[in-house]
C-alpha cells in the first residue's frame, strides 16, 4: 500500500501552501539530511516535472532548505529557511533538470557533509499529501518512506551478510516490515534498507556496525510523533 496509516491522510501538520510541493519537499530534505548523517556544507538541488515548473510559487526551494536544516513540516522557520541555511554555512543552489525522471514531483540532491566531506546523491519523489519516497541513494535503488524507523546498511555483497543482519534483528526483537537490497555488482558495494516496527536503539546500530562486511549504518525516521518526543528528550 502506498499510504499506510491514518496520519498519511489526515496530516501532516504543516506550513502551507502545498502538501506535495512544500511539506513533501521538506520531508525529502530532512530524509537526505539524516542519510548524510551530518549538516551539509554544500547542496545542489535539481527539480524535475511539476516541481521544476512551480517550485518558486510553492516554496519548494525553501522547504528543501528547511528539511536540510532538520526542520519539521510545521516549523514556522520554513519560510525563511534559505537565508537560515546560508547563515548556517550551507551553500545551496537550485536548478531545473532535464531527462528522465520517475514521478511528476521529483527532486535530486547532491550534498557534501560539513564535517567529513562525504558526498551524497539522492533522489526523492513526493507522492501526495506530504508523503514521500526516497528512490535512489548514490545509485542504489531504494524505496524509503521515512514513515517507519528505517535502517540503511552500506556493506559489501558477501554471502551471508543479510543472514547476519537479520540475526542481529531477531536477537534484539526488532520486527522488519519492509526490506530491500541493491548492489552495484557481484561481490561489490551494496545497500540494504530495513523498515522496522520499533525505533532503532544505539545498541542495535552498534551491533550492526560491528558486523564484518558492514561499512556504515544510518537511520532515517520522519515519524512526527517520534521526532517531537526526541526533541523533548535531547535537544538535537
Amino acid at each position: 500500500m502506498r499510504f499506510k496509516d491514518v496520519f498519511s491522510i489526515i496530516g501532516p501538520a504543516m506550513v502551507g501552501p502545498s502538501s506535495s510541493h512544500t511539506a513533501g519537499a521538506a520531508r525529502i530534505g530532512r530524509a537526505a539530511r539524516q542519510v548524510l548523517g551530518e549538516p551539509a556544507s554544500e547542496a545542489e538541488v535539481t527539480f524535475f516535472g511539476s516541481f521544476a515548473a512551480t517550485y518558486q510559487g510553492h516554496g519548494t526551494d525553501r522547504a528543501i532548505a528547511g528539511g536540510l536544516l532538520d526542520f519539521a513540516t510545521d516549523d514556522s522557520r520554513l519560510p525563511d529557511s534559505i537565508e537560515l541555511a546560508e547563515e548556517a554555512g550551507m551553500a545551496i543552489s537550485f536548478g531545473q533538470g532535464t531527462g528522465l525522471f520517475p514521478h511528476p514531483n521529483t527532486v535530486r540532491l547532491r550534498l557534501t557533509g560539513a564535517r567529513t566531506g562525504t558526498e551524497l546523491a539522492l533522489t526523492g519523489i513526493s507522492i501526495g499529501g506530504g508523503n514521500i519516497e526516497i528512490v535512489d541513494i548514490d545509485g542504489f535503488g531504494v524505496k524509503l518512506t521515512g514513515m517507519y524507523p528505517t535502517v540503511l546498511i552500506h556493506h559489501m555483497d558477501y554471502l551471508g551478510v543479510l543472514a547476519s543482519v537479520t540475526d542481529v534483528m531477531r536477537r534484539g526483537q526488532f520486527n522488519i516490515g519492509h526490506m530491500s537490497l541493491d548492489r552495484k555488482n557481484r561481490s561489490g558495494a551494496a545497500l540494504t534498507v530495513l523498515e522496522l516496527d520499533e525505533a532503532a536503539t544505539p545498541e542495535l546500530l552498534h551491533e550492526l556496525s560491528a558486523l564484518p562486511a558492514v561499512q556504515s549504518v544510518k537511520v532515517v525516521d520522519l515519524n512526527e510523533t517520534l521526532q517531537e518526543q526526541k526533541g523533548k528528550d535531547n535537544t538535537r
Binding site: I10, G49, T54, G129
Partner: protein, 292 residues
Amino acid sequence: MNFQTLSQLAVLCEERGMGIGALMLEEQSEESGRSREQEFATMSQYYGVMKEAVHRGMTEDTTSRSGLTGLDAQRVAAYNAADEPCLGGPAGQAMAYALAVSEVNASMGRIIATPTAGSCGIIPGVFLSCQERFGWDDDYMVSGLFAAGAIGYVIANNSFVSGAEGGCQAEVGSAIGMAAGALTELRGGTPAQAVHAVGLALKNTLGLICDPVGGLVEIPCIVRNGFGAVTALAAADMALAGVRSVIPSDEVIKVMLEVGSAMPEKHRETAGGGLAQTPTGRKIMKDLKNKK
C-alpha cells in the same frame, strides 16, 4: 489495515458493530503499535490546529505573498451576517470557514493537510461549522476525523490524492468525499450510508483538472475549497435521506483513477493549461516573475 475498499470497510464495521471512526482508531493503533489513547491524542492536536487555522483566517490578514488572494472568508462572513445570502446560515458558515483555512494555507500559515494542503479547507469548514451548529464535543469531532481518514485511506490507495498525479478531483474531490462520509456518520448515518455519501460526492468532481494560476495554491484552489464544503453538506444530506450511489463508491474511485491517468500533464498541477494559461492567467504569471 484490514480493509482495502469502502465495501470491505462497511462490512467490517457491521461485523464488529462499530462506526467507521471507532474502527479506524482500532486499526490505526494496530498498524502503528501505539496505544489508541496516543493516536487519539495526536488527532486531537490536529483538530486543534484546524480550529486555530479557522480562527486566524476569520480574524487576521490572510493576504498571500503574491497579493492575489486573501480575506475572502471575511468578506463572505460579513455578507452572511448583514444580508440575506442565497445559500443561508450553516452552509454559508461552512463555506466561509473553508475559505479561511485555505487562505491561511496560501499565506504560508499552519494547517493540516486533509488529504493535501490544496484541499485543507474542506474538512475543517464542514467540521467546525457543524460542531457549532449541533453542539458536538471535540472528542466526537476527532472520531469523525478518523472516519474521514479511513475513507481517504481507501481513495488514496486505490486512486490518488495529489493534483500532480490525478488533477484537482484527486485533492478537492477526495476531501469532499471524506467530509461527506464522515459527516454522514456524525449525523447518525450507518457506515453503508456514509459510503454512499462518498460515491455521491466523488461523482460530482470527476474530471476536475488541477490548473493553478502561476502554479500557486491560490486560484482556483481557495474558492474550490469553499464550494467543496457546501458540496460535502449536500452529499451527506442526500445519503442521510436514503439516496444511494447506484454505481458503487469503490467503482467511482476506480473511475477517478482512470480519468486522472488519462489527464494531460498540462492539467496536472504544472500550470501548463486550464485557468493558468488563459490570457489573464498568463499575465498574472508574467507579473509574478517580474516581481521577483
